[in-house]
Every structure is written in structure tokens, then in C-alpha cells.
Amino acid sequence: MRMIKIILLSLTMMISTQVTGQSSGLSITGGLGTYDMSDFKYYHDVILDRMPVDVKAGKYFPAYTNFKINLLRKKSEKIRYGILYGYSTTGAHANYTDYSGYINFDQIVTAHQVGLNIYYSLVKVANIDISAYGDLKLSYINDEVNLLVKTNYYFNNSNIKFNAISPFAESGLEAIVNLKKASIGIEGGFLHDFSRVMDTDDALTADALVNMSATEEIQSGMSGLRVGLKAIFWLSQSP
């Protein structure tokens, strides 16, 4: 709770500062994230065990899309800071198909993050800049679970949602090449999810083929590595 208050307070302070003045810019980082999701994997297996047939699991929460948009301001040659929006998604899929019909069991996890970040330049050689960065974010995590069963005489489509708001912290390195009005480069680091218990509404699963409720609490657990390509568009350069 304390972490959430710190992030909210910092966000308010950041937003109230001018970001469109001199030495401000917009950066877009897009790439992949890995995700721990151990509780979600366990939940996936529990549901599959309840199926009347041998439903095969595919990929369990693999490395998938992760990107962030950052409004930033250069405080000095060494320090940049800003506010950011981040987005991550992953999921799990299981299927059983025979001549009579099929079962699809899917989880799609998305995380929308807002927060603030700071970059500190470590090395600058010519127009190449290597910086360390840190992000503090609040994330709304949503897991949409869908169980679809379809045969000629039986059809059932059941959904259940889990969601939580969890604080994230990320740190890593950025290497960029500074061009005239933009910078391009790569960025990578580790994101730590402080993990919160996912809330749900079990009532939605009353008519499902199998009981879709979790036997134990599910923690958000989106920790993992983040890597991506980055582009910074300088809205205005320092003189």
C-alpha cells in the first residue's frame, strides 16, 4: 500500500511539471517481456485436470509483447525523467479436438501500467549514450479466462475474469544513438512485480462445463525480463 502511495504521489508531481518545453521528448519502446506467472500456470493445470477429456496445454505464458510510451524531459546532460504508459500481454492456451467437437481453454493476461521513470547517463562516447534507468509503475492486471466447448448437441462458452492493481519496479540499461532530432537504440532490464492477489467473480462460472474457480489465491506475478527497441523523438532540443 505504501508503494502505491509513493507512485501516485510521484506521478502527480511529474504530471504537474512541464514536459513540452525545451529538452523534452517522446520515446516509444517496443519488444518482448518474459513473465513468471507461476500461480496462473498452476491455475491453468488445475482447470485442465477437471476436464472430461485430455485437453493439451500449449505454451504457458510465453515471452510476448511489451511496450511503453514515455514523455520525458532532460534535466541535464546526465539525467532524464518522465512519465510513462506501459503495456504487456501474454497468455496460455489449451485445446482438445476430435471429430465430434472441441474444447478451447484460454487465458489472456494484459497489464496496463502508468508510472514514472528516470535515466542516468553512465557513458557517453560521440553520439552514443549508455544509461541506467529505473521505472516505478502501477499496473492494472487483467486475466480473461475463457472456456469454450462446442459439439453438435452441446455448446458452452464460459468466462471468468481476474484482476488486480499491483506496483511494478523496473531497472535496466539503455543504449541509444543520438541523431539530429531523434535517438534510436535498445533497452533492457528486469521488472519486478510486487504481486497482489487477483480478485474474481466466481458466479460467472456457474454453468461452465467444469468448475473454473481457483483452489488457491492467485498472485499477479508478472516479473521478468524486458527487452525492446527504442526511438526517442525530441520535441525540442537544448540550445
Partner: protein, 140 residues
């Protein structure tokens, strides 16, 4: 250009969901085919001619298998439905006024035990039907 880039990123967000459509196909080879048969008090009679009520009694022999239900038709007209493996009824011609040659048709829906998904969900009924020719006539 900057606005265009930002706009394209924002438009990209909703389509950026995890997506996996992999299919795990299972070949079903039915291992358990239980024999099923229908017998009735009319069995063995090729031609049944009646001018009064007809007593009809049937028995479905499906070993340990499950019978969902049985329908009894006179031509396409449903006259009886039951989920019992043996039952009986009186067929009274005056109830539906048939005169002439008709088919008494019994259709039994039973579980296949094929092992398929639909079978596991009791949603794969197999049908077996038996027909008797009946000539209803009236005494003038």
C-alpha cells in the same frame, strides 16, 4: 509525423493481445461397441392386422449401456416417448384414427461409448430403429 507515429501506436494497442490458436487433434478409435437390440411382442409378425386396441410391449437390450430415450411413431406421428429400457402401452386406433397400412416405428437413442468429447458429454446419441407394418381397419 510525430502525431502520426503516436496515433499508429495508440491504434496498435487494442490489437495487441496474446493469441494462440494451436489445435491438438485426437484420433478417436472406438474400443467399446456394445451390441444393442429391440424386441417386442410384435417381433416375428410380418403382417399385423387389427381392428381394435393393440397391446405393444418392448424391451431394449443394451447390456450395461445407457439408453437415453425411445420414441414410438405411427408413420411420422409421435405416439409415445420413454427413457425406460422396457415399457408397454395400448395403441388405440380411435385416438388418432388411422385406417389402412401404417408403419409402427420405434427409434432408440443410446450412448455410443466412442470416447469422443461429445460422447463424454452425453451429447452423441446413436439411433437404432425398428419398424413393423400394421394394417388398421374398421368393421363395417
Amino acid at each position: 509525423m510525430k502525431i502520426l507515429t503516436l496515433l499508429s501506436v495508440i491504434l496498435f494497442i487494442p490489437s495487441c493481445y496474446y493469441n494462440d490458436m494451436e489445435v491438438y487433434e485426437v484420433d478417436i478409435t472406438p474400443s467399446n461397441t456394445l451390441p444393442i437390440s429391440i424386441t417386442s411382442n410384435l417381433t416375428g409378425n410380418d403382417s399385423i392386422t387389427i381392428n381394435d386396441s393393440l397391446f405393444f410391449e418392448y424391451n431394449i437390450d443394451y447390456d450395461t449401456g445407457r439408453v437415453y430415450y425411445a420414441n414410438l411413431f405411427i408413420d411420422d406421428y409421435l405416439i409415445f416417448q420413454s427413457d425406460s429400457i422396457s415399457n408397454s402401452l395400448w395403441i388405440n386406433p380411435s385416438d388418432f384414427n388411422p385406417i389402412g397400412l401404417f408403419e409402427l416405428n420405434m427409434v432408440v437413442y443410446y450412448k455410443t461409448y466412442s470416447g469422443s468429447l461429445a460422447d463424454k458429454l452425453n451429447a452423441e446419441p446413436m439411433a437404432l430403429d425398428t419398424t413393423w407394418q400394421i394394417d388398421f381397419y374398421t368393421l363395417e
